[in-house]
Symmetry: D2
Subunit: 337 residues, 4 copies
Amino acid sequence: MRFFSDNAAPVHPAVFAAMAEADGLDTAYDGDRWSKRLDGRLSDLFEASVRVLWVPTGTAANCLALAALCPPHGGVICHHDAHIQNDEGGAPEFYTHGAKLMLAGGEGAKLTPETIAALADGIANDVHRVQPHAVSITNATEYGLVYRPDEVAAIGALCRARGLRFHMDGARFANAVASAGCTPAEVTWRAGVEVLSFGFVKNGGMGAEALVFFDTDLADATLRRRKRAGLLLSKGRYLAAQILAMVEDDLWLDNGRAANAGAALIADAGGARLVHPAQANEVFLRVTPAEAAALRAQGFDFYDWGPGEARLVVSWDQREADIRPLADAIRALGAPA
Amino acid sequence: MRFFSDNAAPVHPAVFAAMAEADGLDTAYDGDRWSKRLDGRLSDLFEASVRVLWVPTGTAANCLALAALCPPHGGVICHHDAHIQNDEGGAPEFYTHGAKLMLAGGEGAKLTPETIAALADGIANDVHRVQPHAVSITNATEYGLVYRPDEVAAIGALCRARGLRFHMDGARFANAVASAGCTPAEVTWRAGVEVLSFGFVKNGGMGAEALVFFDTDLADATLRRRKRAGLLLSKGRYLAAQILAMVEDDLWLDNGRAANAGAALIADAGGARLVHPAQANEVFLRVTPAEAAALRAQGFDFYDWGPGEARLVVSWDQREADIRPLADAIRALGAPA
Amino acid sequence: MRFFSDNAAPVHPAVFAAMAEADGLDTAYDGDRWSKRLDGRLSDLFEASVRVLWVPTGTAANCLALAALCPPHGGVICHHDAHIQNDEGGAPEFYTHGAKLMLAGGEGAKLTPETIAALADGIANDVHRVQPHAVSITNATEYGLVYRPDEVAAIGALCRARGLRFHMDGARFANAVASAGCTPAEVTWRAGVEVLSFGFVKNGGMGAEALVFFDTDLADATLRRRKRAGLLLSKGRYLAAQILAMVEDDLWLDNGRAANAGAALIADAGGARLVHPAQANEVFLRVTPAEAAALRAQGFDFYDWGPGEARLVVSWDQREADIRPLADAIRALGAPA
Amino acid sequence: MRFFSDNAAPVHPAVFAAMAEADGLDTAYDGDRWSKRLDGRLSDLFEASVRVLWVPTGTAANCLALAALCPPHGGVICHHDAHIQNDEGGAPEFYTHGAKLMLAGGEGAKLTPETIAALADGIANDVHRVQPHAVSITNATEYGLVYRPDEVAAIGALCRARGLRFHMDGARFANAVASAGCTPAEVTWRAGVEVLSFGFVKNGGMGAEALVFFDTDLADATLRRRKRAGLLLSKGRYLAAQILAMVEDDLWLDNGRAANAGAALIADAGGARLVHPAQANEVFLRVTPAEAAALRAQGFDFYDWGPGEARLVVSWDQREADIRPLADAIRALGAPA
């Protein structure tokens, strides 16, 4: 009964089947017929002409995006709890050759035009200070909150006004879109996002994420950066096939919805214990060490998230029957201390 | 009838089966039980205590190795036809933060103690010149030649004498070992090799190579570099399972032998056309443009390799019946011009 | 009547004279007889066997130090108001190939063992988080505070206990030593500092700082990094001569004392307006925009330092008569609002 | 009697005088009135609107230029004997974040359109190969040859045709212009050069070179790179003053002519011993070890330059009387072996 991460979930059968179907000879790297279908397929999904590169990890997607948007001497504004700041082992600095992450605050790891502007305004425009060149937001956020299209658009407008480029880390993009009830287009390029890391691995994929360029001019140099980073797998067809399987018949969205629904069950049980509203597939609850121990004693596996908090993540493959026992156990803890 | 690259071959059924078997829940990254078996399993194979990291590409394996062996201000001696120089899109410079590849010559892309020493001796030991810190050889080479254990040991001895670190790019290590008829240990650590890129993708794998540290002190920092390069896949168990399947019952060696045997058939047909002895699974033949066109007209697919030369590569899955037609067609060309 | 920065002050006549004396032929780079005297001369000053490299800027000194102490995948703990974070245009990230500055708080830009430990304790020791490798403090701090030897030693002890390397940015080291009334040794290597950026440019030099290695093993690789950064001036004797002139007869200390004394006059006039105790040659005062304008109208030149604050810096060449008018003008403002 | 390098020569009195004149208070960095005169003064000299940045070394000038012209994933075509390849300790790779130097051959370290085109044509335009983005030539070359304006223009035309950027390392630009008898404009921007490293240090300066942008769009980002490299000296006025003194009344050109004239005396004596035509201030002679020893025994100091060759460099301050003895001693060696 694991709720520690959607990262560790199994692979969706349709993804496995697509990989098996791609087995056989084809051109190496991304010259195969699966890879060549990505641009078209995701252009349909996003209702825009996009360029798409498969990569094996979300970190790679994010960092190739940042390298495309920010020069080595520039900075990227992000939340101080952003994955790129805390969980990528310095990969953004590696890929950008040392660009600086500029850290803003805000509830639930969400940025707003106000927090971005305040941070940028505090940086004198002289040669001694690193200047911001880009903004990166995570949707759904690291605390399970979701940006509505209008919230993204407000940040996009600020970026445009100030000449900042705009990236969205969509490691849980499916959960965000499912939660917001919007189209993929509304919460990305229509709101000013120029590059999206479109995550599948937490949502049923095995090892393929899509780096989606709405600003297609950035794609060609990124092809070279991907190769230069050792990310151009010889047998790219197996990655492309995963992505194609995930977008077929909206599997990505169905999986996102399922995980969100599971999280809602837990959040409902959590009630007053909720640290943040549970808008996607992550639930953060206030629990004492004793309460956490009690839950674990019943077989529930999850991470502590700072003192007195637990993070519970629901994966695409967990159904109501898997989740009810946890919800019941949380309810049985009674009112929070 | 494709002979353009072993890179593009299908995945061995045992590899696919192992991935299917690994499907299910386990810890993310490399905390799973497949990843944890790698050190032990490859220590057995190499008759030494080794540390092993999976990575998705050979370029990543090579470049993490170089970064472990050479500081940014140093240089790596390699052949001017080495894969790291010509086919990795600048990845060695990216991973090492700008170390310099120092290019030596030599027949068939092979280095010798003499060519290495001559290059190193020509570099004044002052602060103005980048100093060599490491040597990297490819086995089998980019031209299908194989280093015998004593040849590697001679380079290893030179490295030890001069304080140079020693890397082997074994993208086709299976073909090399099968050809040399030696043990994996004899041609690596017993001969002074400190880090090996052990390739599986060209030999039946899907997207997993093993970076093998005989100098195990280098492994811990490399764990961090792997993460920092965006190479730490969330679901590492599917990579570890591939490698475990490849070394089970010597599948890697069987596949290497099979490909070598196929290349021998072609080489035999090539006769006087051979540019290099065909010791592994690659055959380089002198063919006129007209002859190349004639072969292609019969459905044989391969790369030109410089003017008047063709490269023919046999993959693990090609059997005698697949290869005979090519051998016959080459024979039918008659004596070379 | 300029109080905006000691950075812009003229060159001390003794420094100019030493450069003139060095004029003539000698070996290029750092092979000349002035450069060769640096190790010995500064070893005397520091009562220890040190290695010394001249560099043209304090940024270069700091960043070569950080590159010697922290790998690209590591982090350096410093204050969020540190010069390396805010005023070096991303140079630390450039020289370290993307190491992360880890920002702690604390009054007057001072770190303490407590703030360092709290920051480090918040970083899980896993591969996803960048790990701290070094601590860098500025003495005197960016707000004109001075670390006493025991304060440095407490940080040094923490560093030793945790395996962190320890750098001191001594852009205003003279002011710090003059203020603390200690020996150079007491506040550096005896307190655990391993590398010191010993500044002269703000204190009478023209364009030469000394990078002092107490851990002398770090010097050789730094010679290569200095060259690789384009910092190895052909005519290094003119830089070495500056440093030698500055340490001759304790000119550096006399200049530091003089500037501190001037700042004390201003601080005395500032009284209740002081934002921080004025322990070195910088004074930070609370002034309203109208008061700042009034001072400027009288010809005093200085920087605003955030809203409602002014920074007043005294240089080595300003004497009491130069400073009295400012002190009087501050007094004439009356009690702060 | 030193002929080992113009690098080590003393500083011209006019340069020293200009530095003394600049002594006194002014704005820090490059906000002072000397620095602000550079653009205008060199625009006059080059008969074009240029942007100029002072830097303390030629390596810094070259590498900032390359970083402005070539992305990290690109390559720079240069001669295999170029200073950037052999004598800058890996600085080009540091500043460009790992761009690859692509080495062409050619007599006397000179590139031609043919050698450049042949090298570029050998590089397949795919993602596996680093692509050339720029060409860098040295004028006068590392072997004392000079490019005529038409030779530069031929390379410039090739660059334009192929979309390659074009840099000139003018560490000995004065010697080149004096030798070619052309205007500075003719051999630079009129011939397609986009950035020039204009050297003064080998020609009477102390520690200031001018990085001249004919493509002025590149200057702003370079201001940030200069800072980020720790090259923005606080007291920039002393560097600007050096450059202004050097271009005043064509001092740079007079010094270049004087050194060239001295080299001509040596070359004349060298006769059949000349390895290369002596077109600037460097002379390369065939001498046996015994002959070299004989010259040294007479007090002449110079470098061996490969086996059986000596490099003799004349500096701006050496007059005929200083050089005659060497010329006579060379003549006295008799005919070469």
